[in-house]
Structures are given as C-alpha cells and as structure tokens.
Symmetry: C2
Subunit: 319 residues, 2 copies
C-alpha cells in the first residue's frame, strides 16, 4: 500500500551518492540540481536511503542531511529532509518539534502515538533518546498540562499488545463504561484514558463496535457534544488514529489543501510519513471523499520542486 516507485534497476549506492554530490555542488553547471535530487531520493525505499546516507557520509565526510540543509530551501527542503530521515528518527524529530510548539490543537503527538504500530512507536522512542538525550514522554509531560498531559503522556508511553486476540466480554463491559463516562461528560476520566491508551488496537476496535451496536452512535459522534472543545477534538483524533488511520490522514490532507493558503507543514508530514506505509489507501480515501484525485489537488495547490517531490512520493514515476 506504499505509493513509492522504485525503479526496477537501481543504480549502485556509490553511484547514487556521486550523483547527489554532483547535484549539490553544481558541478554540472547549473547550481543545485533539484530534479536530480528528486529522481534519486524520491525513488528509493527506506533501506536504500539509509544506505545512501551511510555511504555518503563515509565518502564525502558530511551527513547527507547537512548537505540538504545547505543546498535546499523552504517546503522543498523540508519534504526532502523529512523523507530522507530513517522513519524512527523522523518520528522522533516530528514529535520533538510538536512538544516544543505544542498547543491544544496540535495533534501530531496523537498521530505519532496512535497510527504507528506498537513496535514503530517504540523505535521512535529509542531514536528520541539517541537524538535528544531525553525520553519522549519526559518532554511531552514537561510541555503539556492538565487533561491534555494526562492523555498525551499515556498515549506516547504506551506499548500496546500488537496481536489480534480480542476479549469480547471485556469489549462489552468497556463499551458500557465508555458510554457511561461520555454521558456524564467525564471525558478526561481515568477510565476513558486508560482504555484508549492501554488496550490493543484490536481490542479497542471490538469495544467501539460494541459501543455502536449497543448505543446506536459511533463514539466519535458522542464525542462531538461541543465541537469547539479541543480536548474532545483530540479524543476524536485518538479514536480515528487508532481505528481508521486512513480516514484520519485523508482529513489532515483535505484540510491542509482546502485551507486558504495550503498548510504545507501538514501536507509534507503526511506524505513523507505515509508514502511507504498506507499512502495508497489515503489517496483512494481522498478521491472518494473529494471526487478529485489527490495528485491533481496537490498539483493545483503547490508548485515547483516541492510539487514534484510530493507527486513522486505519492506515486508518479520518474519523469
């Protein structure tokens, strides 16, 4: 369900590095050659990019990320850099950025905690240690407060069971418990947070199905009592990220594109983090919801090298 196109004949790593180095140094005559960068990095998978970064550093004595930093600018720089990072490192970077800019409407931490697999989240936490010499939960706890802290720290600290085993009796009783608490508007009570932050995704899915069967509404409908309440909004995102990640990402992309002045930050983040995961499903979901193919919407809203890189990542083959 990846949208990445890797050519059937990939050049050797050494060759890729040499071409990238040329693209930066402008030794082929035109300053930085962005097209060449896209044609290489935009068409290599995570393992290949990792190797390129290693060999590049060995060969030229500089981290590829640093060269990108020096040569590129703005949105194009950000998408290429995020994409080039190894996924756990990228999540660590995005999560750190989110803790520093945290506001109650910032849902990046929920997104990272809930759409990644339990193992992936763990690897992100390890990468966070290595890069920031602190733990992710430590920074989240430090930069947030109140109910948001209670929810977010629990979500980023979770290491959920990743299997499919489901306890249906428990699902029934916890559906009832959730319904009670939501009816009482006790949205941030311990039980709601406990269930959403510790149960496995399969178990939560079973619980929410029971909820719907028993009480008639999707839980997210009941969590919309006050559409302006930001804690409710983050709870709805939590549910979506856990159970329907493709719908969550479709909405992020839709809002990013439909906004007056595209939200490049969000668009870049979703494309760079999902291209190798489930971008194909997100694209299908986008088309179904907006009656426009995602690549056409992106082409309309963005331009230049930034546009080209995004389109490469969502599945355009090398020109």
């Amino acid at each position: 369900m990846s949208t990445l196109c890797v050519p059937s004949q990939v050049p050797s790593v050494a060759e890729d590095c040499e071409q990238l180095h040329k693209a930066f140094s402008g030794s082929i005559g035109w300053g930085t050659n962005e097209g060449l960068i896209i044609s290489i990095l935009g068409h290599r998978n995570a393992a290949q990019r990792k190797l390129i970064r290693e060999v590049y550093a060995e060969t030229y004595g500089e981290d590829l990320l640093k060269s990108l930093d020096k040569e590129l600018t703005n949105d194009f720089e950000r998408v290429v850099k995020l994409w080039t990072l190894d996924p756990p490192e990228r999540d660590a970077y995005l999560a750190n950025e989110a803790t520093k800019r945290w506001t109650s409407s910032n849902q990046v931490l929920v997104e990272i905690a809930c759409t990644r697999s339990p193992k992936e989240l763990l690897h992100a936490r390890e990468a966070y240690h290595a890069r920031f010499k602190r733990s992710l939960e430590e920074d989240v706890a430090y930069h947030t407060s109140g109910d948001f802290r209670k929810l977010l720290v629990a979500l980023v600290s979770s290491y959920r069971y990743g299997g499919d085993d489901v306890n249906l009796i428990l699902a029934k009783s916890e559906a009832k418990l959730l319904h009670e608490k939501i009816s009482e508007k006790a949205y941030s009570c311990d039980d709601v947070i406990r269930i959403l932050s510790t149960r496995s995704k399969a178990q939560i899915n079973a619980t929410l199905n029971q909820y719907k069967n028993e009480f008639g509404n999707d839980i997210n409908k009941d969590l919309k009592a006050d559409p302006k309440d930001e804690f409710l909004s983050i709870l709805r995102s939590t549910v979506k990220c856990l159970v329907y990640p493709e719908k969550y990402f479709e909405k992020v992309v839709r809002l990013a594109i439909n906004r007056r002045g595209t939200d490049e930050g969000a668009l870049t983040r979703v494309v760079a983090t999902r291209a190798e995961v489930d971008m194909k499903i997100v694209k299908d979901e986008y088309q179904r919801r907006n009656s426009v193919p995602l690549d056409r919407a992106i082409a309309k809203d963005t331009n230049g090298d930034y546009e080209k890189m995004l389109l490469a990542l969502i599945g355009h083959e090398e020109a």
Copy 2:
C-alpha cells in the same frame, strides 16, 4: 556484582539436560534428586539456563518449567522456577502476579518498573505481550485505581533515557517544584508523578541531591509525614528503587527475614531476580545494616532444599 558461582568447567548442555532428566525421573533410585537440580541450575548463568531449557524441550518434548512444576513443591519449587525463567519472562510473570494480587501495600510493580534498566523493563513488557497477550500497563491500569493507578501506570509505561547526561538547571527547578508540592502535601499531583516517572535515573538523582542541598532533608524523610499512608510509602519505595536499589532490596530482605514466620515470597523474589545483577552489593548492605552475614541469616530462617538453593544463588559454591 553477581553472586552466582558458575564452575570453571561447565558440562555440555546435553549433559546438563540428561542429568536434570535423571534427577526428575528418579532413575538413579531415590525419587526426585533435588541436590542434583541445585548443583546444575543453581550454578548456571542466564544464557546457559536458556540454552538448557531449549535443548531440554527438544530432547524430552517437555518444557523444563513443566517438569519442575511436576517434580518440585512449595518454596523450593518457586525459587527454582523463578530462577530458571529468562529474566524478562520472570519479570513479566512477577508483574502479572502482582497485578492480580494487587493491594496498596504491594510494591512489586514499583520494584520491577524502577530497579530494572529502561531496556530491561522494555524487554519485560515484550515478554508480557508474548505470554499474556495483553500489555503490562493495560493490566496494571485495569487492576488499580486512583492515585496508585496514576503512579503505577506511569512507572510501568516509562522508557526513560538511560544515559548519564544531566541538566543541572532543570534539577534545581524541579527540586524546588518537588519541595513545594510536598510542602503542600500534594503528593499525587501531576508534577511529582511526572518527574518520578519520566526523568532519567541520573536526572532524578541530580534533582534529589539538589533537594537535599537546598532544603536540608532527604526527600524520603519529607515523604514520611504520615508513616501509615500507603501512597507515601509507595512513593518512598519509588525513590529508593530509582536511586538506591541496593538499599531497597536490603530492606525487603531484612523485613522478610525478621518477620514472624519468614516471608518466603519476598526473599525468593529478591534472590532470584538479583543474584545475577547486584546481589553482592545487597549482601554487603545487609551485613552493614544487620551485623550478620546474609547467608547466616538465611540459613537460620530457612531449611532443606529451599535453603540450599538460596545459598547457592547468593554465592555458596557447589558442595
């Protein structure tokens, strides 16, 4: 700092398995041969025991743990079984038992969450998934409530930064914050729990040193305002486990031995979990605090095969 004695010439794994199998089947004439079991399992390290368990299962078609279960009884059975388990599996087992028998005076969860290294705790959580098809934090959250839940879930979910880097400015400000909250008797407030459950052990140590320098008392003295309050008692254990694990374990052993009718559960747990880690330091600490060597105290309070196995694990060489 391990107390385990592994002979310089260890028999082959196949030979160990054969001897164990003989010890169970009584094929050498006397029913189960407990001495033989001690002489083998009581003198092999974790990697060797793991291999023995694998080869035993392959050779005899039965998990060694199951054979031990059938052949041994009571305290001797428990110490041999706990010891034979791989450390992460053993922690998962002990933690699960603790969630099921949880009372506010049960400090096993704190012990596992705070005396293990961040990596070890993580491996225990992985082993928990594998064995119980649920997450540790999920079971802890389900079986506890109120302030205890708030603290325990945060502790078992933590994946602290494991390095030595310390931020002294932060240590000062958080020492002040802790002192304020403790003065207000806000023991279970978010900040106290956040600091104890997310900061690295090195950082907490620096903070508590600042606390003492600035405010005159050890934090644990200030956390003794009401000696009967069980939440305060668990907070003191948390601090001890994080910063002075050997003192914590010495006290558990001391209370287990000094109690009317030894607390074999606690004694077994500490010996089986620490023998390969820091039992040497715990023994030294015990002697310093009680003016009696630990092995003499254990010999006085226990007997038979149980005594022999404990003594083997705390450093008696094979007879």
